[in-house]
């Protein structure tokens, strides 16, 4: 029998002591400011008084304000070493963390490169914070959360409070802080007259934004109305298609599931503009299909593609896989025994599906719809290529920032409109889901088989999904074809020239990667590979907190994690440049800013997927683990994560792919040294060099496909039942 000391003063002071040491080490040993050549070059070690000077060294060298965070550590030391009661110690730790962090943030915001904001600080100046400051802040943060947990919050679980603290801090720094820079602009008065509310409301409710004239047939609708209409159509469409694919996968014995799987993934890994271009070549006024129908049936060649339906079609192609990825986990998770129960109650397969399986998939459906809606609202590439005169908020925002007359206030206001739409969708989704329990993977093992689909439903699924799959296949065949011909659409002579220009390797005095694309290709893959696991980790951790833990301000917390997703990439890009170009946090022109942008922009997908998957895992599984002496972290690692294989896979895949294919935020954040593939492709497309653009896109698609298959093999599927059985039809 192993003795186990009760968690109390001992555990608390041990944990707090650890963070105190880490924080102090960061303060005294690591370089406080960013160092030339990057932290990992480790060159700063050679210059302990110069480039590599720690906070301690700097404060002794005259930057006295850097001694402020020491106050926090001093209080913490009293708490850890003193022999006060548990309550007093906990309160001291909370005080230590709060004071230390507040002083750290205050000095960062007050003392800038060009001098302090307050005259009484003299001529103090400093550059962007580096590793030392980050570790110091982390130490203080966890001292604070350890203190809070010892006050009895979060069931006294230091891991949970620490995790909440970490996510809140990260979201605050990397979502709220930069967004504040942009949103302040919404209240800017025209002609530099300062700030005020007087112009905000009229501009927010401007009929040019909310106009509904198109429904009366008398003109254009405002971009807000267009965005909503498009978002609802795309959300509903992708959810329905995603469900059809998910059902075919889990409930039928369809033979070519692997092929189908690849097809459902393809659009998500396609760089922007490529789908739009392919659609133009197929359905444009001179497109292949258009010409065919014109010749065969005498149909008039029209430009229908340029507008609502074209954008919708492209978005359906682009976003159906997202719905599928969300839904497949959910559909797999519906417990066979519930379906069996229904069938034993004399329900036929259709009734079983309609009244048992479908309602159990509600969280998945709601999440899929929400994601589709938000993706559609934030989508920028497709409306740009196919929008014609159909304006949506995302393109309007982009051109308000980069257009001939830059109007940041308009961009900020339209961003707020977009945000309010997302917020509404979010609230409606919550209402619809209500407080019902959708857990179907309980600790009671179940060995049944998933009910097969009834013939009519199966026919519908096939009827919807298979033509769609064929369509996707045609689009992609065309894309590959386009990369091997001289001039797509005009001169179809076979050539390898595009690939050579992009990916040539010269072997002469060693191996030289001389192709134009190599540089951005390597950068892109490296950054995506770093961003993906971080995104998945932050996203799933957040989902875990939201589903499994209760803490004050949870609803606000949940919404704030959705924010960065709802804001169009363009706005995020500009916000990041505005916020992170100056001390205290100076990240522009680094790879880090790209990674961070990806992590916090794609995190909501991990969160939504995680929530859907977790709400299907019965809470008693966690509780059982906790009761068996495991702490929250062990429970997460050994019980929850293994059962969330598909959700993790989805989060990893999605964030990896999004880091490679997203463009709108990236355009502002790429720098000479860290160029990204999409930025490169967009440049080529703008220049009309479709050949090299799609050759590059094809290589990226193949790369991502390989990566996804590798991930799948690595993470695999849950083994809840010995075999994945589907009842024979």
């Amino acid at each position: 029998m192993t003795g186990q000391a009760p968690f109390g003063t001992f555990h608390m002071t041990r944990t707090a002591g650890l963070w105190l040491l880490i924080g102090l080490a960061g303060y005294a040993l690591l370089p406080w400011y960013m160092v030339a050549g990057g932290f990992w070059s480790l060159r700063w070690i050679m210059a302990p008084l110069g480039d590599g000077a720690s906070g301690l060294t700097h404060s002794l060298q005259g930057k006295v304000w850097l001694a402020l965070p020491l106050t926090g550590f001093a209080i913490a030391a009293v708490a850890v070493l003193g022999r006060a009661s548990q309550l007093t110690t906990a309160r001291l730790l909370v005080l230590a963390g709060t004071v230390g962090l507040a002083l750290l943030v205050a000095q960062g915001l007050l003392v800038l490169r060009d001098g302090p904001r307050l005259a009484l600080l003299g001529t103090a100046s400093q550059t962007g914070m580096g590793a030392g400051a980050a570790v110091t802040a982390t130490g203080l943060l966890f001292l604070l959360t350890t203190g809070i947990s010892s006050l009895g919050r979060g069931r006294g679980d230091a891991f949970v409070t620490g995790l909440v603290g970490l996510v809140v801090a990260l979201v605050a720094v990397f979502v709220f802080y930069p967004m504040a820079f942009v949103l302040v602009r919404a209240f800017e008065l025209r002609d530099g007259a300062g700030f005020g509310i007087s112009q905000f409301l009229p501009r927010f409710f401007d009929p040019n934004v909310w106009g509904m004239a198109c429904f009366r047939g008398t003109g254009y609708c405002g971009p807000a109305i267009n965005s909503v209409a498009l978002g609802v159509m795309t959300g509903a469409g992708t959810t329905a298609l995603g469900l059809a694919f998910a059902l075919i996968f889990t409930r039928t014995q369809f033979r070519a599931k692997r092929l189908l799987r690849v097809l459902t993934i393809l659009p998500i890994i396609t760089p922007p503009f490529v789908i739009g271009l392919a659609l133009i070549l197929l359905f444009g006024r001179s497109g292949t299909f258009t010409t065919f129908f014109a010749d065969a049936f005498g149909w008039e060649k029209t430009r229908w593609l340029y507008g609502f339906w074209g954008v919708w079609l492209a978005q359906m192609l682009s976003f159906t896989p997202i719905a599928f990825l969300v839904l497949i986990g959910v559909v797999e998770g519906v417990s066979p025994s519930m379906e069996e129960a229904s069938q034993t109650l004399d329900a036929d397969r259709w009734q079983t599906f309609r009244f048992v399986s479908l309602p159990l998939m509600r969280p998945g459906l709601a999440n899929a719809f929400l994601l589709g809606f938000i993706e559609s609202l934030a989508d920028f590439g497709n409306p740009l290529v196919l929008g014609g005169n159909f304006n949506v908020l995302s393109t309007e925002i982009y051109f308000a920032i980069v257009g001939t007359i830059a109007d940041p206030a308009k961009a900020a206001i339209l961003s707020l409109v977009l945000l309010s739409l997302t917020l509404s969708a979010f609230v409606i989704q919550r209402r619809w889901l209500g407080k019902k329990n959708y857990a179907t993977v309980t600790g009671k093992a179940d060995s049944g088989r998933n009910a097969a689909l009834n013939p009519a439903l199966r026919a519908v699924c096939y009827g919807v999904a298979l033509p769609w799959a064929a369509f996707t296949m045609i689009v992609y065949a065309l894309i590959v074809f386009g990369s091997f011909v001289k001039l797509w659409g005009v001169n179809h002579t076979f050539t390898l020239e595009h690939y050579k220009r992009a990916f040539a390797i010269t072997i002469r005095n060693g191996v030289h990667f001389t192709g134009a694309a190599w540089d951005s290709y390597v950068t892109t893959l490296t950054i995506a590979a770093i961003a993906a696991p971080l995104t998945a980790a932050v996203g799933l951790a957040t989902a875990y907190l939201l589903v499994r833990q209760t803490f004050t301000g949870k609803a606000v917390f949940e919404f704030s994690t959705m924010l960065s997703f709802a804001i169009p990439g363009t706005v995020i890009g500009v916000a990041y440049v505005m916020a992170f170009n100056f001390p205290p946090i100076e990240l522009t022109a680094t790879a880090t800013i790209l990674i961070i942008a990806f992590v916090f922009r794609n995190m909501p997908v991990g969160v939504r997927g995680g929530i859907a998957a977790l709400s299907q895992l019965d809470k008693s599984l966690d509780e059982a683990s906790i009761m068996l002496g495991a702490n929250s972290f062990t429970t997460l690692r050994r019980v929850i994560l293994p059962l969330m294989g598909p959700a993790i896979l989805a989060a990893l895949t999605y964030s990896f792919v999004r880091a490679i294919t997203s463009v709108s935020a990236v355009i502002f954040l790429v720098s000479a040294r860290h160029n990204m593939a999409t930025s490169f492709i967009v440049g080529r497309v703008e220049n009309g060099e479709f050949g090299i653009a799609i050759a590059y896109a094809t290589v990226l698609i193949v790369t991502m496909l390989a990566a996804i298959l590798a991930l799948q093999a690595l993470i695999g599927r849950r083994t809840l039942r010995r075999a994945d059985r589907v009842e024979a039809p």
């Binding site: 968690f7 006294g156 600790g443 060995s447 929250s632």
Partner: protein, 350 residues
């Protein structure tokens, strides 16, 4: 020696504005099996989860083994739990499930395997270790859950409706096993159920809860024989509750029933309206009146082999009776007289 004792000192629990537990004080002696019994929503599960550490008390102190654990997280409490749904980890084998708590404590692998096997043997599942939970029957899964909880040798074993997913026959068998294991290991066990028969069968002591507080506690016999309220009398075993008037309370209580006076023993209740508790098997039926008798009419008769159950209509209301089988049972429509031994009668406040 307080090891294994559980003590609540004025513990309350609120979820928002909902009171889940009114100030509760209780003591559970080491080595006993105590059942929390009551209808759903009575606070019994909340009480169990407070002992487990899965909920934090809003006020009051909780002590386990004499130590204040009010703010201690579930992880560090030496308490194990068997869940209603069993909560077996579906991705782990049976042996991994049972050994989970041990491996979490970083015990050497060989020792974990050995003790998991011992635990499985204890519940009669030796050799099932390699299977997945989904390959076991419901009863077997339940036993795995018990094994998983007891290999940790907890101070207190909690069981949350452990039998509710089993069929009636298996239920009796498993509850005997649980009781035997508990007694063999000398564990303190807290058992939550809404099934009074199950509670009576396994418990040293029963705590009946109603509306977020204790209605009555005592040994099964106490509760059955000396119910403190109509609720307990009805909840613990069936009871006919008949309105009476207590005219003189004391050592020898006199009650008035339908205008007739009757002397009964035990227990004293205040003068005025009260309810008389008459257990179904204490009801005697005769064709003819002999002394004190209530005229009644048989409305329903059910022959169950070892007994006959009657439902009767009388002036005092509906009466339910259980009689030994006889050659010529009463039939619906027969007029009968209900009599009973005044010594059997118990009184509870109206």
């Amino acid at each position: 020696m307080t090891k294994g004792s559980v003590r609540f000192e004025a513990v309350t629990k609120r979820f928002g504005s909902v009171v889940a537990l009114k100030p509760l004080t209780l003591d559970i002696a080491p080595g006993t099996l105590v059942t929390l019994l009551g209808p759903s929503g009575c606070g019994k599960t909340t009480t169990l989860r407070l002992i487990a550490g899965l909920e934090t008390a809003s006020e009051g102190r909780i002590l386990i083994g004499g130590q204040d654990v009010t703010h201690q997280s579930a992880t560090y409490r030496r308490v194990s739990m068997v869940f209603q749904s069993y909560a077996l980890f579906p991705h782990m084998s049976v042996a991994e499930n049972v050994g989970y708590g041990l491996s979490v404590k970083r015990l050497p692998k060989a020792q974990v395997r050995e003790r998991a096997e011992e635990g499985l043997a204890l519940v009669g599942l030796a050799g099932f270790g390699k299977r997945l939970p989904s390959e076991l029957s419901g009863g077997q899964q339940q036993r795995v859950a018990v094994a998983r909880a007891i290999v940790l040798e907890p101070e207190v074993l909690l069981l949350d409706e452990p039998l509710s997913n089993l069929d009636a026959k298996l239920r009796r068998h498993v509850r005997e096993e649980i009781r035997q294991i508990q007694q063999r290991l000398g564990l303190t066990a807290v058992y939550v159920t809404h099934d009074q028969e199950e509670a009576m069968a396994v418990s040293d002591r029963i705590i009946v809860m109603k509306n977020a507080e204790i209605a009555q506690e005592g040994s099964p016999h106490d509760l059955y024989d000396r119910p403190a309220s109509a609720f307990i009398a009805d909840f613990i075993g069936d009871a006919n509750l008949i309105d009476v008037e207590v005219s003189q309370s004391g050592a020898d209580t006199e009650i008035a029933l339908l205008g007739r006076r009757l002397r009964v023993a035990l227990p004293p209740v205040p003068n005025g309206a009260a309810k008389m508790v008459l257990r179904p098997h204490q009801v005697r039926l005769t064709r003819d009146a002999q002394g004190f008798a209530l005229p009644a009419e048989v409305t329903y008769a059910a022959y169950l082999g070892n007994q006959i159950q009657y439902t009767l209509d009388s002036e005092a209301g509906r009466i339910f009776a259980i009689c030994a089988p006889v050659a010529a049972p009463f039939r619906p429509g027969d007029g009968v007289h209900v009599t009973f031994d005044p010594a059997d009668v118990r009184l509870v406040p109206a």
